[in-house]
């Protein structure tokens, strides 16, 4: 149901505010968004909202399980709504391209980590870095684009 988010917040002792609704909506609409991008989206509706509110709100929404974040490159993290299907980002350190693949590709790996080390992997939290198919085939020099 759609008003589930109010429940979620109230259950955890948080109040319902326009800002929290707008931020959640922006995250859902954008599907992928940095705090800055979310701010811009929110400001389409409410110009007065401040960046620090975005940060504080995302923290709250994440703590009650309504959004998550992942690190793609060096810069700001991106936030998604939790109902998005889980995916892994493959980041090319050479050309900077980002490819999303199903998290299921890592199932055997994460099972291994659980069995061997007891580690419960959140595979989508950080990206996998390397070189994409295009870059891996053509250029001979292993130059870093940096991250």
């Amino acid at each position: 149901m759609a008003e589930d988010w109010e429940q979620r917040l109230r259950e955890n002792g948080f109040r319902i505010t326009p800002q929290r609704q707008l931020v959640l909506q922006a995250v859902e609409d954008l599907r992928h968004g940095t705090p800055e991008e979310i701010l811009v989206e929110v400001q389409h509706t409410a110009t007065g909202v401040n960046l620090s509110t975005i940060y504080r709100t995302l923290e709250v929404l994440e703590s009650v399980g309504l959004v998550t974040h992942a690190h793609i490159g060096h810069g700001a993290p991106t936030y998604h709504a939790v109902d998005e299907h889980v995916h892994i980002h493959l980041v090319c350190d050479q050309c900077g391209s980002v490819e999303s693949i199903p998290a299921a590709v890592a199932d055997a790996f994460t099972s291994d980590l659980r069995d061997t080390y007891g580690f419960e992997t959140d595979i989508s939290h950080v990206s996998i870095h390397g070189r994409c198919s295009r870059c891996a085939s053509s250029p001979p020099r292993p130059v870093d684009v940096e991250d």
Copy 2:
């Protein structure tokens, strides 16, 4: 051979400077070090060295393949000498602990990424996040320590 690093630099058109030697040495001695930590180490020997030089030097040393860096948490990256054996960091988002495991654990996974997506994975570049065995077993609440 020990003076290989001079070769490496010269081959690539870089000059040999005390700072470059000291930074390389510090990275080797520390085994894991952030730019700030490397600065401190270097300053044991040469007090006048500046942080910006550390950054610029690490960039140079990395470009010629003498050092690499990995991202462990949210903060500064850590640098290693390239002769260190390759490892993956398992970072617990709950207690913050970091465990190093052999990169070979991911071999099947990275082969898969190569075969399916043509992606050449640099598995050690970013850490794997999740919850360590201790945290995964005890507490029921999925609280984020944040990264």
